[in-house]
C-alpha cells in the first residue's frame, strides 16, 4: 500500500475551530483596573467618613473631598505650574540623559567584556547604594539648582538600564548571532537588527526602572533641599503648616507617578508586541 506523503499546508487556527458564541468576559486587565478603582473608592469613602466623624483626628488627615477641591484650585495658580514645570524638566532631562548614558554604557560593557567585568561590582552595588545621599555633596559642588538634581538622577536612572542592557545583550541566543554571521551582517546590522531587538525585553525592563529612579531621585532631592519643584513645595508647605495645600501637592505627585507608570506600560506593550 503506497502512502504518498503529501506536503502539508498549515491551516490558520480560525478555520479549524467552530466560531463559538462566548459570553463576554472582561479581560484580566480590565478586571484588575476595576478592582483597583473599587478599592480606591472604598478607601476614599472610609477616610472621608473617618475624618468627618473625627475618628481620624489625631492622624492630621484632611477631608479627601477638600484635597480634591484644593488640587483643582492649584491648577489655576502660576506658582503651581512653575513648580510642576521645574519637576517635569528635571525628570524629563534625567530620563533622557540617564537612558542615553545607561544604554550606551550597557552596549560598551557588552562589547568590551573586560571593562564590563571591572565595572560590574560598582554597577551592581551603586544600583543598591544610596546614591541620593550624594546630594549634599552635589549641591556643594554644583549649587542648589536643577543641574545638581539632574546629574544625580541621570546617574541613578542610568545604572539599572546599563546593567539590564548588558545582561540582555549577554543573553542573546548564540544561534541568532550565528545567523547574523552567515548572512554577513555588518556591525551596524548585527547591533540594530539582531542584538538590540533580542535584548529588548531586558532593555525595556531597565527603562522602566530608569524612569522610576529618575522620578524618585528627582523628587527626593527636591524634598531634601531645593528652591523650586513639587518635592520642595511639599516640604515648604509642611514647615509652614499649610496642610491643605500640601496634600494637594502630594496628590499631584501621586498622579504624576501613576501617569508615568501607565505610560511606561504602554511603551512596553508597543515595543514588545508579538512576544510572550
Amino acid at each position: 500500500m503506497a502512502v504518498r506523503i503529501e506536503p502539508r499546508q498549515e491551516v490558520p487556527a480560525k478555520h479549524l475551530t467552530r466560531p463559538r458564541r462566548a459570553r463576554w468576559r472582561p479581560s484580566q486587565g480590565v478586571r484588575s483596573a476595576a478592582a483597583s478603582a473599587v478599592l480606591l473608592a472604598v478607601l476614599f469613602v472610609l477616610v472621608q467618613i473617618g475624618v468627618a466623624t473625627g475618628a481620624l483626628r489625631q492622624t492630621g488627615l484632611p477631608v479627601p473631598t477638600d484635597v480634591v477641591g484644593s488640587t483643582l484650585g492649584l491648577l489655576g495658580t502660576g506658582a503651581f505650574w512653575s513648580d510642576f514645570g521645574r519637576t517635569c524638566l528635571e525628570i524629563g532631562a534625567s530620563i533622557a540623559a540617564g537612558c542615553a548614558l545607561g544604554f550606551g554604557a550597557g552596549i560598551v560593557f557588552w562589547k568590551l567584556p573586560l571593562l564590563g567585568r571591572v565595572f560590574e561590582p560598582y554597577l551592581v552595588s551603586f544600583y543598591a547604594v544610596p546614591l541620593v545621599l550624594f546630594y549634599p555633596m552635589m549641591i556643594v559642588l554644583v549649587g542648589i539648582n536643577a543641574g545638581s538634581i539632574i546629574i544625580l538622577s541621570s546617574v541613578m536612572a542610568a545604572i539599572p538600564l546599563a546593567l539590564n542592557t548588558r545582561t540582555g545583550l549577554q543573553g542573546i541566543r548564540p544561534v541568532h548571532l550565528k545567523l547574523a554571521r552567515t548572512l554577513q551582517c555588518n556591525a551596524r546590522q548585527t547591533l540594530f537588527s539582531i542584538a538590540i531587538p533580542a535584548a529588548a525585553p531586558m532593555i525595556v525592563a531597565g527603562m522602566r526602572m530608569a524612569v522610576v529612579y529618575a522620578l524618585i531621585g528627582s523628587i527626593a532631592m527636591e524634598f531634601t533641599t531645593a528652591q523650586n519643584g513639587l518635592g520642595y513645595r511639599i516640604r515648604y508647605l509642611y514647615e509652614t503648616f499649610d496642610n491643605k495645600t500640601m496634600f494637594a501637592y502630594i496628590l499631584v505627585v501621586l498622579i504624576l507617578s501613576v501617569v508615568l507608570t501607565v505610560l511606561m506600560a504602554l511603551v512596553e506593550r508597543v515595543l514588545l508586541r508579538g512576544r510572550r
Binding site: S32, R117, V124, P136, L215, T224, G231, R235, S257, T261
Partner: protein
Amino acid sequence: MTRLTKLRESQFAGAAVVALVASAIWQVSSGLSFVIPSPAATAEAFVQNFADPRYLSDIGETAQAVAQAFVIGTVLGGAIGLLLGLSAAARTWLEPLLIAFNGVPKIVLYPVLLPIFSLGGSKIVMGVLFALFPVLINVAVGVRTIPPVYWKLGRTVQASKWQLFVHILLPAIRLPLLTGVRLAISLAVVGVVLSEFFATRFGLGRVVLQAYSHGEYAQMVSTILLLILVAFTMSVLLWRLERRVR
C-alpha cells in the same frame, strides 16, 4: 594561565584600580576648590568621629532604625509577594495599585506619616516603604515563574503545605529573593537617612545636614562615605553570595 593574566582578570583588582583612579581625581580636585575637602581631611574626620560619643550614638540610632526597617520591610514584602504570587484574586485586586505605588516617590508621604507614627517611628516606616518593594516584586515574580512541574512533583509525593513551602517554593525562588534582600538593605538606609534629613534630633542624616549647613564639608563627606561604604559592602557581600548560590 599565568599569574599576571589571572590578576588582570580578577574583578577585585579591576575594581581596586577604578577606586584608586577615583581617589586620585578627588585628591587633585580638592586642591582646586576650597569646598572639596581633601581625602586626608576626610579620613581624619572619619577617624575622629569614632571617638565622639555623640556621633557613636547617632550611628546607633540610624543603625537601629535601618535594621528594624529592613527586617519589617523584608518580612512584609515577602509575605505580600507570596500572597501575590500564589493567589490570582490577590493579583486582580492589588497588583495595579502596588505597581503604581512602587513608582511613587514615597518620601513625599513623610509629612503624612509624622503625625501618625511620631518622629522616631516615621523614619522606620519610611525605611519599610523603601525596602518593601524589591522583595515584594522579586518574590511575586519568582513564585509565579516556578515551573508547574515542580508543583506537580510536590503533589505526587503528597507533600504538606509546609513541605511545599520549604522544599519547593523557597529553593525555587532563592535567587530573586536574595536579589530583593540585597536591594532592601540599601533602600532601608535610603529611607531612614532621607527621613533624618527632614526632621529628627538624632541620626547620621541629621549629622550630614548639620555639617552641610555649618560648612563642615569634611565631616559631611566622611559621614556620607560611611553610609555608602556600609551599604556598598553589604551589597557586594550579598551579591557574591548570590553568584555562589547560582
